[in-house]
C-alpha cells in the first residue's frame, strides 16, 4: 500500500479546508492525493489492492457536528446524517414501518459487521467490484483512463446490461442507492465552493467516454446528509434482491418498488433496479407503463419489458435481462399484495 499521512479534522469546515489544500479543482475524488475516509470498508480494501492510492487520508469520524450521526424522521420525510452507519438505519423502527424499501435495501446489503462500519454516505459512493477494476494488472478505463476494458470480452457475468458504454460496463453494486433514487432523495454537500443540494439521480455519472469520473462531487466536497422527501404511501414498498447465494452477496438483479394504489389500479409507481446497471438506475419507462393501469401479471410484464428495452448484453451476462425482468415482476406483484 502506498504510504499516507493520516489526519483527523474536527469539524466539517476543517475537513473541507484540508481537502482543498491538498487537491486541485480538477481532481476526481477517487483519484485525488487527499481522500476522505469514514467506515473504510470500501476504501481500505481498494488501498490494499493498489486501486486507490491517496497519500493523505482525512478521517471524518471525529467531526464534531452531531447532526452527521442522527436520523430524523418527520412529516417532511427523512434526514440521514452522512456518518450514520448502515446497521443503525436498517434497524430504525420508523424507517422499517414507513419506508420498508429503505430498511430492506440496507438490511440485505453486506454483512452485520460491514453494516456496523460503513457510513450511509460512503455506502452510496461505493465503487464497483468489477474483477478487472479490482486487479491492477488488467486493462481498465475506470482505474487507468485509456487503458481499455478487459471486461468487455472477458468473464463479464457480473456486468451491467444497462447504462454501459464501449469504455466500461462495470456494475454499480449498491442496494441503498436504489431505494434512494426511487424515492427522489437529495444529497446535501459542503465544499470549498459552498453547500449544494444534489438530486440523488444526478450524483452518479454513467461511464460514457470517461468512466473514471464516477460522481458529480469535487475532491474537497463532503456529503453531510441524505434527505428523502415524505412519501405518504411509502409503506407499500419493498426491496427484492436476487443473488448467487441467500445472503452476503451482491445482487445479480434487484428491484426497489413503491406503489400508490387505488384498489388494484396504479396511481403512481416508483421503480429502481440494482445489479444490472452501471449506476443507480431509475426505471422511469416502467413507471410510465404502469401509471393508471390495473397491476396484474400482464401489466407487470409490460413494465419489465420496458425497463429492459434498451439492455445491451455481452457474452456472459445476457441472463440478467430475463432475471431482471422476473425480479421486477415479482417485486411489483409482492408490493401490490402487501398488507399496509
Amino acid at each position: 500500500m502506498r504510504p499516507f499521512v493520516y489526519e483527523q479534522p474536527t469539524d466539517i469546515s476543517a475537513a473541507v479546508a484540508l481537502a482543498s489544500n491538498f487537491t486541485t479543482r480538477d481532481d476526481q475524488p477517487t483519484r485525488a492525493n487527499a481522500q476522505f475516509i469514514a467506515g473504510g470498508t470500501n476504501l481500505a480494501d481498494y488501498m490494499k489492492l493498489g486501486v486507490a492510492e491517496p497519500n493523505r487520508l482525512l478521517d471524518l469520524n471525529r467531526l464534531e457536528e452531531q447532526k452527521l450521526r442522527q436520523i430524523r424522521v418527520t412529516e417532511d420525510g427523512i434526514r440521514f446524517g452522512a456518518l450514520v452507519r448502515m446497521g443503525e438505519a436498517a434497524d430504525h423502527r420508523e424507517i422499517k414501518e414507513r419506508y420498508p424499501v429503505i430498511a430492506e435495501s440496507l438490511h440485505l446489503a453486506a454483512s452485520g459487521q460491514i453494516r456496523n462500519m460503513a457510513s450511509l454516505a460512503g455506502n452510496v459512493l461505493q465503487r464497483t467490484r468489477c474483477e478487472y477494476f479490482r486487479e491492477t494488472s488488467w486493462a481498465c478505463n475506470k482505474r487507468m483512463p485509456g487503458s481499455g476494458c478487459a471486461a468487455m470480452d472477458g468473464f463479464n457475468r457480473q456486468h451491467a446490461v444497462l447504462g454501459g458504454s464501449t469504455a466500461c460496463i462495470a456494475t454499480y453494486h449498491g442496494d441503498f442507492a436504489q431505494a434512494l433514487i426511487a424515492l427522489d432523495a437529495v444529497v446535501l454537500t459542503e465544499g470549498s465552493r459552498g453547500a449544494r443540494k444534489i438530486p440523488f439521480a444526478k450524483l452518479h455519472r454513467q461511464p460514457g467516454d470517461t468512466p473514471h469520473i464516477e460522481t458529480d462531487l469535487a475532491a474537497d466536497e463532503i456529503i453531510t446528509a441524505i434527505e428523502v422527501p415524505a412519501l405518504p404511501w411509502g409503506r407499500r414498498s419493498l426491496y427484492l434482491k436476487i443473488r448467487d447465494r441467500e445472503s452476503y452477496a451482491f445482487a445479480l438483479a434487484s428491484a426497489a418498488v413503491a406503489l400508490d394504489l387505488d384498489g388494484e389500479t396504479v396511481r403512481e409507481a416508483r421503480i429502481a433496479l440494482g445489479g444490472v446497471a452501471t449506476v443507480p438506475w431509475r426505471a422511469s419507462a416502467a413507471e410510465e407503463v404502469l401509471q393508471g393501469k390495473k397491476l396484474d401479471d400482464a401489466s407487470a410484464g409490460a413494465a419489465a419489458d420496458a425497463a429492459f428495452a434498451e439492455a445491451q448484453p455481452r457474452q456472459h451476462n445476457a441472463f440478467k435481462i430475463e432475471l431482471g425482468k422476473r425480479t421486477l415482476v415479482r417485486a411489483l406483484l409482492e408490493t401490490r399484495d402487501m398488507k399496509v
Binding site: V5, P9, A44, R62, A110, G112, Q113, Y248
Partner: protein
C-alpha cells in the same frame, strides 16, 4: 491471554516478530483539538509513525504504528494477540471479527489509527480470569461448532455481536445475521445451534 509488551521476557519466534513499542518512543498525537488554520497546516509527514492507544481486553496498549497498519495487524503483530485470524484480509470472510466499543467489526478493513481511544475486545478477552469460558465459547464446544477452527474466533465474536444487536431471535435470523462469517468446513448447523444455546447467557456480556 497475551500480555502487553512490557511482560515479554523469553525471546521466541512470536516475540521476535512482534513490533510493540514502549511509551518512550511516543511522538505527539495527531488530531488533538486544533483550530482550522492549524489543521490545514498540518505538520504530519509521510512514513511518520502515529502513536495509537487502544484499550484491548480492558488493558491499555500504546502502539507506534505506520498509519497503513490494519487493526487486525496491530492486534496480531504489535499487541501479540494472535487469536484474531487473518483469512481473506479483504472483508469477505469474517475471520478477523472483533468488537470495537461493543460492536462487531472487521479488523482487516479498519486502519488501527482510526480506532485511537477505543475499546477493543478479541477472543482472548472473553474467558474470565479463572479460566471459565464465555458462554458462547462453551456453546461452540458443546455443539462441536467447528472442525479446523480457523474461522472460530471470528464466528464467536460475531455471534456475541449478533446476540447483543438483538438479531438472534430465530434460526433464520441467526443464519442471515451471521452470513458475514464463512466456515469452509461448513459447520453452519452446529454454529446456529451454539448461538441458540448461548444467546440467553450472552446478552450484555
Amino acid at each position: 491471554m497475551s500480555q502487553p509488551s512490557a511482560s515479554h521476557v523469553a525471546l521466541n519466534r512470536r516475540n521476535f516478530m512482534t513490533g510493540t513499542v514502549s511509551a518512550a518512543a511516543a511522538v505527539p498525537l495527531l488530531g488533538s483539538p486544533a483550530k482550522t488554520q492549524e489543521v490545514t497546516q498540518s505538520r504530519a509527514r509521510l512514513r511518520e509513525p502515529v502513536v495509537t492507544t487502544l484499550r484491548i481486553n480492558k488493558q491499555r496498549h500504546e502502539l507506534s504504528l505506520d498509519p497503513r497498519t490494519s487493526l487486525l495487524d496491530a492486534l496480531r503483530d504489535h499487541a501479540g494477540l494472535t487469536g484474531t485470524k487473518k483469512g481473506c484480509d479483504h472483508g469477505q470472510c469474517g475471520a478477523c471479527t472483533v468488537l470495537v466499543d461493543g460492536k462487531r467489526v472487521l479488523s482487516c478493513l479498519s486502519f488501527a489509527v482510526m480506532n485511537d481511544g477505543k475499546e477493543v475486545t478479541t477472543i482472548e478477552g472473553l474467558a474470565s480470569s479463572d479460566g471459565k469460558l464465555h458462554p458462547m465459547q462453551q456453546a461452540f464446544i458443546d455443539h462441536d461448532a467447528f472442525q479446523c477452527g480457523y474461522c472460530t474466533p471470528g464466528q464467536i465474536m460475531s455471534a456475541i455481536g449478533c446476540v447483543n444487536e438483538g438479531h438472534a431471535e430465530s434460526e433464520n435470523d441467526i443464519r442471515e445475521y451471521m452470513s458475514g462469517n464463512i466456515c469452509r468446513c461448513a459447520a453452519y448447523p452446529n454454529i446456529v445451534a451454539a448461538v441458540l444455546q448461548a444467546r440467553g447467557e450472552t446478552r450484555g456480556a
